[in-house]
């Protein structure tokens, strides 16, 4: 069963992963965007882990909702509202249970991902974070490791795609051949689940 401490570990592990990969995210973003993705996410998740250090809510849903609100308040750009909405809506979908199963988390994350799709008006294949998140939700029903692998594969699969949303979409054909930074950071978020479970 997954409790509030698990979700807290998940957020902390994400913060560490984003910190490690900041330069890579920014480099990917400078190819097709504006070179701020790494720095923005690091700022946001650093604030999330600092907040959770001070106060850890007592339910998994509340931890994720708090993390989401913190991201909206600190990140800016498109990734603030998108990642913030992802975690806030996932947290809300978990309700106020003290413990949840992995299957329940998968279902709630599905609701969070759907909210992201609605907010950004994006769908699968648009070369966005959804291309990592959608297969991850699917695989999360099997195991954390499967979800991490699916997200990673989804991020890699964005390379040949043409961007249809966000700043990269302004490049049209020139966005082809680059891995999407949003899908890459989404894979870090999902990958951190494995660390939280360890």
């Amino acid at each position: 069963m997954l409790d509030a401490a698990f979700m807290s570990r998940w957020m902390t592990a994400t913060a560490a992963a984003v910190g490690r990969e900041e330069t890579r995210l920014t480099d990917l973003d400078s190819a097709i965007g504006d070179a701020d993705h790494g720095a923005n996410l690091r700022r946001g998740f650093t604030a999330v882990s600092a907040t959770l250090d001070k106060e850890t809510p007592d339910t998994p849903g509340a931890v994720l909702a708090l993390a989401g609100r913190q991201l909206i308040s600190t990140v800016g750009g498109a990734s603030g509202p998108l990642y913030g909405t992802l975690l806030r809506r996932t947290g809300k979908a978990l309700g106020d249970a003290a413990e949840v199963t992995r299957e329940q988390l998968a279902e709630a994350l599905g609701a969070g991902v759907a909210a992201v799709g609605q907010l950004g008006g994006a769908a699968a294949g648009d070369k966005t974070m959804l291309d990592a998140l959608l297969p991850a939700v699917e695989a999360l029903g099997r195991s954390f490791a499967a979800a991490a692998e699916a997200a990673e594969a989804g991020a890699l699969a964005t390379v040949p795609l043409r961007a249809r949303k966000g700043r990269a979409s302004y490049l049209g054909e020139r966005s082809v051949g680059h891995q999407d930074p949003g899908a890459t950071s989404a894979a870090l978020l999902v990958g951190a689940l494995v660390e939280a479970a360890a």
């Binding site: 400078s30 923005n40 800016g76 750009g77 509202p81 949303k165 020139r174």
Partner: protein, 330 residues
């Protein structure tokens, strides 16, 4: 890349402290990243609030003052501000007549301002929004996020700000802002890439002797790269692509804008070429503004924005404005 900074993390806060020191007409809330006109809120006057990533100075903080913006919300470099900033700004400047958010069409700005508008409405502030999307370099289609918002932002903020200063109600200020945006188109050219403080090196490779046509204001690559052209050739290209989409039947306002690292000597020379092309095309220029207004850090290059005006819009353009970066008639 040598930069006049302390550390990348404090670039925006340091600049805000400097803006506060230079302009006593402004109230600068460094911690919450909101720049307000000192006499805000002005009772019964619609307040314009804009914002966006930093690195485009003087946009937007330089346009705060009587006749233009009531507040500006600077985000991190090239990153939109967060909703908390807009909500705080809206609450501080609302004089009871409501607030108009002026939003450049970038996904991040749109999402954060949308969230902020909802939150501000919850706090009892009437909010209207206008989206600026003037950049013709980007083809509008079913699959793109639409045209980018660039130079026309200045025209929208100035003209709608003048309408607000005259006491026009929110719906009217909003309608004028939309009319200005619909009447304006821009095109930008990069002669060098810019470097963000966080990255410290150019955001894209632009070899010596080449230029990027249709570049955005974030150093995001444009639509085409060519061998370097003369000022005359660039003016021909830029004005023609703007006029392909905007076919003015009355005089235009012209903004010849520098991207940050191109000297006025070059911008004025370019302005002469732009006037030549417009004269050849039979387009009368009512007013011209030349300078660095919507910049992209240390990028070299320029953009051209044309805005077709009627008598009313021209009168509002000429109305007094008193801000750090734009000041006349007062």
């Amino acid at each position: 890349m040598n930069m006049l900074i302390n550390v990348p993390e404090s670039v925006v806060a340091d600049a805000l402290r400097g803006i506060a020191a230079a302009h006593p007409s402004l109230t600068v809330d460094v911690e919450n990243r909101v720049v307000l006109r000192r006499d805000a809120p002005v009772a019964r006057q619609v307040a314009l609030v804009s914002g966006g990533g930093s690195g485009h100075e003087p946009l937007h903080a330089g346009f705060v003052g009587p006749g233009m913006l009531a507040a500006a919300c600077p985000g991190e470099v090239f990153t939109s501000p967060v909703p908390d900033q807009m909500v705080r700004a809206a609450a501080a400047v609302d004089g009871g007549a409501g607030v108009l958010f002026v939003v450049k069409n970038y996904t991040g700005d749109v999402l954060n301002f949308d969230m902020a508008a909802e939150l501000a409405e919850d706090e009892g502030v009437s909010v209207a929004k206008v989206l600026v999307d003037d950049d013709v370099a980007v083809t509008d289609s079913l699959y793109t996020a639409g045209r980018r918002g660039t130079g026309a932002t200045l025209f929208v903020e100035k003209i709608a700000g003048a309408a607000a200063a005259e006491g026009a109600p929110l719906e009217r200020v909003e309608a004028i802002a939309r009319r200005v945006n619909a009447s304006a188109r821009s095109f930008g050219v990069a002669l060098s890439a810019c470097a963000t403080p966080a990255k410290g090196s150019p955001t894209f490779e632009l070899p010596q002797g080449e230029l990027e046509l249709g570049v955005g204001i974030h150093g995001e690559p444009g639509r085409e790269r060519r061998a370097m052209m003369t000022s005359r050739e660039i003016a021909d290209y830029a004005v023609h692509v703007v006029l392909d989409e905007l076919r003015p039947t009355s005089p235009v306002l012209l903004l010849v804008n520098g991207m940050g690292a191109t000297p006025l000597l070059e911008l004025y020379g370019f302005n002469a070429e732009v006037h030549r092309v417009l004269a050849e095309r039979g387009v009368p220029v009512a007013r011209t503004l030349v300078g660095n207004y919507v910049t992209s850090l240390d990028m070299a290059g320029c953009s051209v924005t044309l805005c077709q005006v009627d008598e009313e819009l021209l009168r509002l353009w000429d109305a007094p404005v008193n801000t750090p970066a734009l000041r006349w008639g007062c």
